[in-house]
């Protein structure tokens, strides 16, 4: 096996989401595991085809929600009863009824932060440089092209054989991309 350390992988450029999806399935069937698709919009069913696990973002957001709710309860309870008790018309210093709006808002706020920053974190963004940008036709992947990259880190990767294999799947353009 040749040394592939300077190669990121082979890019196969497809013209429709359906051919891309078929190619992903074929590549999996062939035994390739390290692959990534680059598409202008989400393709349904591609995660299953690639064997990717579902996103864990939901759990991150749940932690955000719990933090937000707890913060709101503690904030209102502590400021109202310990730090600065303010007696108004004999009303309780703390109660869940009047505390609810702030609890709700802080829960939503911290959940939203968790969703956005969690998504960016899981995606490794911001990251301004990536080997896929070395592909000459990368601009198409945000327009109307559908790319499949079989990465050099794959055990079965062999620049020429992988290229021939992808060509047989109907790729309209093939390119070996530098790392």
């Amino acid at each position: 096996m040749a040394d592939h350390s300077s190669i990121h992988g082979v890019v196969a450029d497809f013209s429709s989401p359906d051919t891309l999806l078929d190619a992903v399935k074929a590549a999996r069937a062939q035994g390739y595991t390290k692959m990534e698709a680059y598409t202008p919009f989400p393709i349904h069913g591609i995660d299953e085809a690639m064997g990717a696990k579902p996103s864990i973002l939901g759990y991150i957001v749940l932690c955000g929600s719990a933090t937000g709710f707890t913060t709101a309860v503690l904030l209102q309870w502590w400021t109202g009863t310990i730090a600065y008790p303010l007696v108004i018309s004999g009303k309780p210093l703390f109660a869940f009824e009047f505390g609810f709006p702030v609890m709700f808002e802080l829960t939503v706020l911290l959940s939203a932060f968790a969703a956005v920053f969690g998504m960016l974190g899981l995606n490794g963004l911001p990251r301004l440089s990536h080997p896929i940008f070395n592909y000459s036709g990368v601009a198409g992947s945000s327009d109307d092209r559908f790319l499949l990259v079989i990465e050099a880190s794959d055990k079965r990767f062999d620049a020429n054989a992988t290229k021939d294999f992808l060509a047989s799947l109907g790729a309209e353009k093939l390119e070996v991309v530098e790392a």
Partner: protein, 476 residues
């Protein structure tokens, strides 16, 4: 199988196309990106000069207010809340349609939202920016506005009263502004990457490259992105309902006749959606024409929005009637007086302007001819906006101007500063739009593309699926 009694025309009538003229994916990219790439048009500078001047007027009015005091406004006893809170509720209400379109319609899988959600979300942000000005400056000493937030500080030396709905409002509005901004930006990331990939100069490539955070559109990216988008939509849906509910608590939790009613939360939310959709129509009719995206924002979109205006306008009319009924049924003489005074007192002109604009005018949308007529819907949407401004004014002014003692009765008159400040917020609103439409894609490109492909698939599979239930086919 496929040649069952399947009539594509009948299907098209049931669900008209959301993108007309069958553009390719590339055509869509082109149509939406091109306006950010062309040489700046002379008209853009003219628009910016006009709206920018009006924004400067807003700035000078606010500077005058801060330097002099809230007395430059018409607010005084007994009408302590005047145009400031009217305009605050007016602007925040307009924002709600944007969140409704981006979040609630997303959860309901309403595909028609994809062409208008970016624009409507931008409207939300800019409207909230206009709304946010008022509570900050009407506190009297805006340089102390941070006292509204529970920040430990030495000069206040105490904590906020969490039993006050005004404090709930601080949390609701700031959360709403933050979450709307994040939702909007998350939606923009893949589209900013499109503009980056099309960039012809190094500078453009760098700026849009940084703004898009290096988005690559990989399957992993999309997986987490779609999840995040769905969670944000799920969070924004109760959020938008809570915001106007809490805004209505500012009134309903008080004991002022005309304010102290349980109908306020749903009635305010319906009114907010009503006014927001009207504002989307006003802006979208202009934008689709200026930016030549009539094939992406089609008559179907406009008609659907007009249907929402009709529905929510009718709810608002029903709420007005219920308020009157309850005022009579409560047997409370102050409550009765307030409502009779609303319709027949010194503010009757405002009340009946509100009723004609909000209750009568949307009823024209029962007629398909009228709700698909662009000049007509444009004019009507402006009427709705005027009517919804009057609604807030009527609620605030009529309830306050007659205090329990006739000795403290009064009449609110806006000053020139009130009027110019309000006028100025439109300048800010439009200026933000002028920048938005110049530098950012005004339509969610990747969402429209995904929707086009999905629709194509459904069309392809439709005959096969309907074949499973022959009754439904024969029914046509």
């Amino acid at each position: 199988m496929a040649d069952l009694a399947f009539d594509p025309k009948a299907v098209e009538q049931l669900s008209p196309p959301l993108v007309t003229g069958q553009p390719s994916l590339h055509d869509v990219t082109e149509a939406v990106s091109i306006h950010t790439e062309l040489e700046t048009h002379r008209n853009w500078y003219i628009a910016l000069a006009i709206s920018g001047s009006i924004t400067l007027l807003l700035g000078s009015m606010l500077a005058y207010l801060v330097a002099t005091g809230v007395g430059v406004w018409g607010n005084n006893n007994p009408v302590g809340w005047g145009w400031d809170i009217t305009n605050f509720v007016f602007w925040i209400g307009i924002g709600h349609a944007g969140t409704l379109i981006s979040a609630i319609l997303f959860l309901f899988r309403q595909k028609w939202r994809t062409s208008i959600n970016r624009f409507a979300e931008a409207m939300t942000l800019f409207a909230v920016a206009c709304a946010g000005i008022y509570p900050l400056v009407h506190v009297g000493r805006p340089w102390r506005a941070y006292w509204l937030f529970p920040i430990p500080n030495a000069d206040l030396a105490m904590w906020q009263n969490f039993r006050s709905p005004l404090l709930w409002d601080v949390f609701a509005v700031s959360t709403y502004a933050t979450v709307s901004a994040m939702f909007w930006y998350v939606g923009l990331i893949p589209d900013l990457a499109i503009i980056r990939d099309r960039a012809t100069t190094k500078l453009r490539h760098t700026i849009y490259g940084i703004a898009s955070l290096g988005w690559r559109g990989s399957a992993t990216h999309w997986k987490n992105y779609e999840k995040a988008y769905m969670i944000l939509a799920g969070l924004s849906t109760p959020l938008v309902l809570s915001v106007h509910t809490i805004v209505s608590f500012d009134f309903a939790v008080s004991i002022i006749p005309g304010w102290h009613t349980t109908i306020f939360p749903p009635y305010f939310v319906a009114g907010a959606i009503f006014s927001g959709f009207a504002m989307v129509i006003t802006l979208m009719v202009i934008a689709r024409w200026v930016f030549k995206v009539e094939h992406l924002v089609t008559m179907t979109h406009l008609e659907n929005m007009n249907k929402v205006i009709l529905a929510t306008g009718t709810i608002v009319g029903y709420a007005y009637a219920t308020e009157f009924f309850i005022a009579w049924y409560s047997g409370n003489e102050y409550e009765r007086f307030t409502f009779i005074n609303r319709a027949m007192g010194p503010y009757a002109w405002a009340y009946w302007s509100m009723v004609s604009c909000n209750v009568i005018s949307p009823q024209f949308f029962w007629f398909k001819k009228l709700r698909t007529n662009i000049p007509f819907m444009f004019v009507l949407s402006i009427f709705v906006n005027i009517g919804m401004w009057f609604e807030r004014f009527v609620i605030i002014a009529t309830s306050l101007h007659r205090d329990y003692l006739p000795a403290s009765w009064g009449y609110f008159r806006p000053t020139i500063v009130d009027i110019l400040t309000f006028f100025g917020t439109f300048g800010l609103f439009i200026t933000l739009f002028v920048f938005f439409t110049r530098f950012l894609p005004i339509i969610a490109v990747s969402e429209v593309k995904g929707m086009m492909i999905q629709t194509e698939h459904e069309k392809h599979y439709l005959p096969a699926t309907t074949a499973g239930s022959p009754e439904s086919v024969r029914a046509h």
